[in-house]
């Protein structure tokens, strides 16, 4: 048995850091540098704990590990501090552990950086909590808690239209979670009526017997929140505004991690709690995913604004995650989980690079930029690698996950996979076009030479690049940890629905044959 409460620490530590910075921020005598150092230090220690958590986990075990389960409210309400981690959540926790320190390092020069750091650390606690909670109410609290800091980050430090974007972001996602809360409470009530035990534990609630129509309604209530958060295709309209108007570090967190909360929620809660409904409604969501892939790619082609281009490409990638999830095959789901990690790294790197360009030139408009390659070759090189990963070039991480998603979908839902492949091609078009516009050609006469990446910026990009390459060349250690959990989840869905995937997919992936 373990003695260190890793998972609780992952939540409490950033929250304590946020509280400390908040209190220090009230005293104007404390220097900003000290506050920055505390913030970055706390996030780095959190990263170390996240790595230790992964090391402490058993590799070939699919269930929840390092569980901590304590009473939180009294029995009258039945909420428990129930945390656990498995192959599906561990890499999202690691991703959060990596992206938050980077966001803090990049944001250290912002106005009123103490408050900014406090909000980001609070956001880290909430994100960690969302990925780790196995009690639905604690999950809901953490899921909701992400809204408050995100809102203040966008509204306080965003670009010109930040107030509008922040309100839109808040209202859309809050509305989605309103349905989630009602869904959670209704499910717990049905469970209570059947067993006379009031509990919000995911494990217990997964045993609830639900009538088919009830299950579909509950599934929709849950998915409303997750689809808005992700965002899936028709619920995405808040995201271009929020991602564009947020400060660059905010966009990294929003698209790299908060978006994953939505897709993670679908995998963790919808598949576990409502396997029947998921199976029955899968074709609808697969279709939405494919529409999202194509729509995101086509709209990205029409963008002249680099930040909006990345936003729409992110929408297409989220479509791939949803595609792999709703394919309900082991390969597809494993691909989706891996893609969540990969997309977090890639889109995070892209937003950071776009932020570098903005810092130097004060614009995101592709047609106002030209020939950056001449004066900033290193930046161009880094951009190339990240872009190739996003397109899905073999040898980089994007390829592995997209391949798994598409082949997993092909096994169970052939035609959706065929159409979705088009999205990969279009992605190559708009990314290469954007690259040509910005980096190729001769710099205009009035363009000042653009500064290349400086030390700290190289330091920020290095871990992302290393991970992008490593996961592309050798994804086995990651897949080895993802697969047991994915197999278990797919087995749960198949057991509940009585529908088995075609035998070709039942073999593990990534060297487990």
């Amino acid at each position: 048995m373990h003695t260190v409460p890793f998972l609780t620490l992952l939540i409490v530590l950033p929250a304590a850091g946020a509280l400390a910075l908040g209190l220090l921020g009230l005293d104007r005598r404390v220097s900003a540098d000290l506050c920055n150092a505390i913030g970055i230090g706390v996030s780095l220690v959190t990263l170390v704990i996240a790595v230790a958590t992964m090391v402490a986990m058993k590799v070939s075990f699919g269930g929840y590990q390092l569980v901590s389960n304590h009473a939180y409210t009294g029995v009258s309400l039945g909420v428990r501090w129930f945390l656990g981690i498995d192959g599906i959540s561990v890499f999202l926790v690691l991703l959060a552990g990596v992206l938050f320190p980077l966001a803090l390092i990049l944001g250290r020069d912002r106005a009123n950086s103490r408050a900014y750091f406090a909000w980001i650390l609070l956001l880290e606690a909430a994100v960690m909590g969302s990925f780790l909670s196995l009690d639905l109410i604690v999950f809901f609290f953490m899921f909701e808690l992400t809204l408050v800091p995100s809102y203040f980050i966008i509204a306080g430090w965003g670009h010109d239209r930040r107030a509008y974007a922040a309100i839109k972001f808040f209202l859309y996602t809050f509305l989605g979670s309103a349905f989630l809360l009602v869904g959670i409470l209704a499910l717990a009530f049905i469970h209570q009526a059947q067993t006379h035990v009031l509990t919000f534990s995911l494990v217990a609630l997964a045993q609830t017997h639900l009538a088919s129509s009830t299950e579909i309604l509950l599934f929709l209530a849950f998915t409303a929140a997750f689809a808005v958060k992700a965002p899936l295709f028709p619920f995405h309209t808040w995201s271009p505004d929020a991602y564009t108007e947020a400060p660059e570090e905010g966009s990294v967190i929003l698209s790299g991690l908060l978006a994953k909360l939505g897709t993670y929620g679908i995998i963790r809660f919808d598949l576990n709690l409502f396997p029947h409904a998921t199976h029955r409604l899968a074709p609808i969501f697969l279709t939405l995913a494919v529409i999202g892939i194509l729509y995101g790619a086509i709209v990205a082609c029409a963008q002249r604004d680099l930040k909006r281009l990345v936003t729409y490409s992110s929408l297409a990638q989220i479509g791939f995650i949803a595609l792999g999830t709703f394919a309900l095959s082991t390969q597809g789901l494993a691909g989706a989980v891996l893609l969540m990690l990969n997309h977090g790294l890639i889109v995070g790197a892209l937003f950071i690079l776009v932020g570098f360009i903005y810092q130097r030139r004060g614009t995101w408009q592709a047609n106002e930029l030209k020939g950056l390659q001449k004066s900033a070759p290193l930046m161009a090189g880094v951009f190339t690698v990240v872009m190739m990963a996003s397109i899905g070039v073999p040898g980089l991480n994007g390829f592995v996950s997209e391949f798994l998603v598409l082949s997993g979908t092909f096994i169970t839902h052939r035609w959706w996979a065929v159409v979705a492949v088009l999205g990969v091609i279009v992605a190559a078009i708009y990314l290469l076009w954007a690259y040509q516009q910005v980096f190729h050609g001769e710099p205009g006469a009035d363009d000042a030479p653009t500064k290349d990446l400086v030390h700290l910026e190289r330091l920020v990009m290095a871990p992302l690049l290393i991970l992008i390459v490593f996961l592309g060349v050798y994804p086995k250690p990651v897949l080895d940890r993802i697969n047991p959990s994915v197999n278990q989840l797919i087995a749960h869905v198949e057991h509940a629905t009585g529908q088995a995937q075609p035998p070709v997919a039942t073999q593990g992936v990534g060297g487990q044959r």
């Binding site: 908040g22 921020g25 009230l26 009473a71 939180y72 409210t73 009294g74 009258s76 309400l77 909420v79 408050a115 109410i137 809901f140 609290f141 953490m142 909701e144 808690l145 408050v148 809102y151 203040f152 509204a155 306080g156 930040r162 107030a163 509008y164 922040a166 309100i167 839109k168 808040f170 209202l171 809050f174 509305l175 309103a178 349905f179 809360l181 009602v182 409470l185 209704a186 717990a188 009530f189």
Partner: protein, 551 residues
């Protein structure tokens, strides 16, 4: 009854004086006793009593009442819930919790009022005397086991509140608000009494237990009289808890009353009225719940929707909080509507959370109202975080709590009432409630963002014009009105950017926060956050209280 009979009745030994267990009615007695003592003291000295004397007198009195309530709690725990004084009052977990909350609300209000009275230069102890009398009325409502006692409590509560509303006689708005409150309140009391009369006619008793017995043992073939009686009672209660459609007085009175009184009224009047409403409906009319549940359902839906939507358009913080309190009333009605023990416990918890959040919010509004208590425009909150970070943080926490942010008592409260509604089978109501919580979240955040994002530079002014303005997509009430609003506000904000502020020469300066008010605000924020992060004591407390509900 002629005089001879009366004389014999008085002279005979058979005049039944009920046995009185004084513990059961001690807290309201202490409140009234404290008020009388303070009044006597004030009339004995030649000059008006210093404010501080009244403050400490009230703090000690309500502290004592709180202590007695804790004694009552252990007594109820040991001996169970019983009725006393000829079954007219009841001492159970429910009544004790309400008594505790009212004592605490009185205590915190006294701390806030101290700074207010000093600032406005109002001397004398009358404010505290009236407030304590009013609080004793609310306590009586919480422990009443007889409709007559409910009415008695209602009147003691209300009449003192009418006077308190008009307390700052230098403000015209105060007097206007008091007149409105008095006229409408008088009507609602009359309707309430008529409801008692009809109920008595239908059931033969005004005692809540006897009404319940009667309804359980008899089947009324024609129940028109009873239903009319219950409906009229609900009108009276609806007025006091400020539920739509009986809310008309709320915005004007909340805005016009002195700010500490508004906080006190919002908390204590709702506490007393909801306590009596819960007890009357669940212990007396529980049998006919299928008749009153649809009415409560309607009131809840209307309160939720109108409270949240109309609050969007308010530019005065006190009016906004008035509409938000209507929205809160809708949420508490969710627990009532479920007609079950878990609903009672949820409503109690909600009242607990609401009391502290609302008194704390109005304490901050009092402070920021500056001398004259007139500065309540939203624009005055811009950039508060830069000038007074602690005060802004406290207000942001209280507003987020009211919006139902996680890890505040606000979300636990909303969670429980919504769960009660779902348990009662009213899933529609639960969904409507959560959607209005989203709308409400918008206007709370609007204030929070004004405080934080609002800088001093002109470039940002336009930004806040957008923040301060509900986007057209959610204010479906009247699009034209909103767009008209936009232009006026933009013009005003441009003015503030370039010319001196519309309020004259004064540039927003740091507002002094009196020490006792700091304590009060700290208490409210502390309760909201600490019990939000560590919920089990309060949740269990409310649950215990509802288990010990004599119904």
């Amino acid at each position: 009854m002629n005089a001879a009979l009366l004389a014999t009745a008085v002279n005979s030994d058979k005049l039944a004086v009920p046995h009185i267990r004084y513990l059961s009615i001690l807290p309201p007695m202490i409140m009234i006793g404290g008020a009388v003592l303070l009044l006597a003291l004030a009339s004995l000295v030649s000059r008006p009593l210093r404010v501080r004397v009244g403050t400490w007198g009230t703090v000690v009195t309500s502290g004592t009442a709180l202590g007695i309530a804790i004694w009552q709690w252990t007594d109820v725990g040991d001996h169970g819930a019983h009725t006393y004084v000829a079954h007219a009052v009841v001492m159970d977990g429910f009544s004790v919790l309400i008594t505790m909350l009212i004592s605490a609300a009185m205590l915190v209000t006294a701390l806030v009022a101290d700074g207010y009275l000093n600032r406005e230069g109002i001397e004398g102890s009358e404010f505290y005397v009236l407030a304590m009398v009013s609080a004793s009325g609310a306590m009586l409502m919480g422990m009443a086991n007889d409709l007559i006692i409910v009415f008695l409590g209602l009147e003691i509560l209300s009449i003192a509140l009418y006077v308190l509303t008009a307390f700052n006689h230098r403000r015209g708005a105060s007097g206007e608000a008091a007149l409105k409150y008095f006229l409408l309140g008088g009507f609602s009391s009359a309707i309430f009494v008529y409801g008692i009369a009809l109920t008595y006619g239908a059931t033969g008793s005004t005692n809540l237990t006897q009404i319940a017995d009667f309804l359980a043992k008899n089947v009324l073939l024609t129940d028109g009289l009873l239903l009319a009686g219950v409906s009229l009672l609900l009108v009276g209660f609806g007025f006091k808890v400020a539920a739509v459609p009986f809310h008309m007085w709320t915005p004007d009175v909340y805005q016009g009353a002195p700010s500490p009184v508004t906080g006190f009224m919002a908390a204590v009047a709702k506490l007393g009225a909801f306590a009596a409403l819960l007890r009357v409906l669940l212990s007396s009319f529980g049998v006919i719940s299928s008749d009153w549940r649809p009415i409560i359902f309607g009131m809840a839906v209307l309160s939720l929707i109108l409270g949240s939507v109309l609050a969007l358009r308010q530019r005065d913080v006190k009016r906004m909080l008035a509409y938000s309190s209507i929205n809160h009333a809708g949420f508490i009605l969710l627990g009532v509507e479920s007609a079950r023990a878990s609903g009672v416990s949820a409503s109690l918890y909600y009242l607990f959370a609401y009391t502290f959040m609302t008194i704390g919010s109005f304490a901050i509004v009092t402070v920021l109202g500056r001398e004259g208590d007139g500065d309540h425009d939203l624009t005055r909150y811009r950039g508060l975080a830069r000038r007074q970070p602690v005060l802004a943080l406290a207000f942001a926490i209280l507003l987020l709590g009211q919006a139902g942010a996680p890890f505040t008592t606000g979300l636990w409260a909303k969670l429980q009432v919504v769960f009660a509604a779902i348990s009662g089978g009213s899933v529609t109501l639960a969904v409507i409630a959560m959607v209005t919580a989203v709308i409400a979240g918008y206007f709370y955040l609007r204030v929070a963002v004004l405080m934080y994002a609002g800088g001093d530079d002109q470039a940002r002014t336009q930004q806040e014009a957008v923040i301060a303005q509900p986007p057209a997509m959610i204010s479906f009430a009247s699009p034209e009105g909103v767009s008209a609003n936009v232009t006026t506000i933009n013009a005003e904000l441009l003015m503030t950017g370039e010319a001196p502020a519309p309020f004259g020469e004064e540039v927003p300066s740091v507002v002094p926060v009196p020490g006792l008010t700091r304590v009060a605000i700290g208490l409210c924020v502390g309760v909201t956050v600490v019990f939000g992060i560590w919920p089990s004591p309060l949740v269990d407390f409310a649950h215990q209280a509802s288990l010990l509900f004599l119904g």
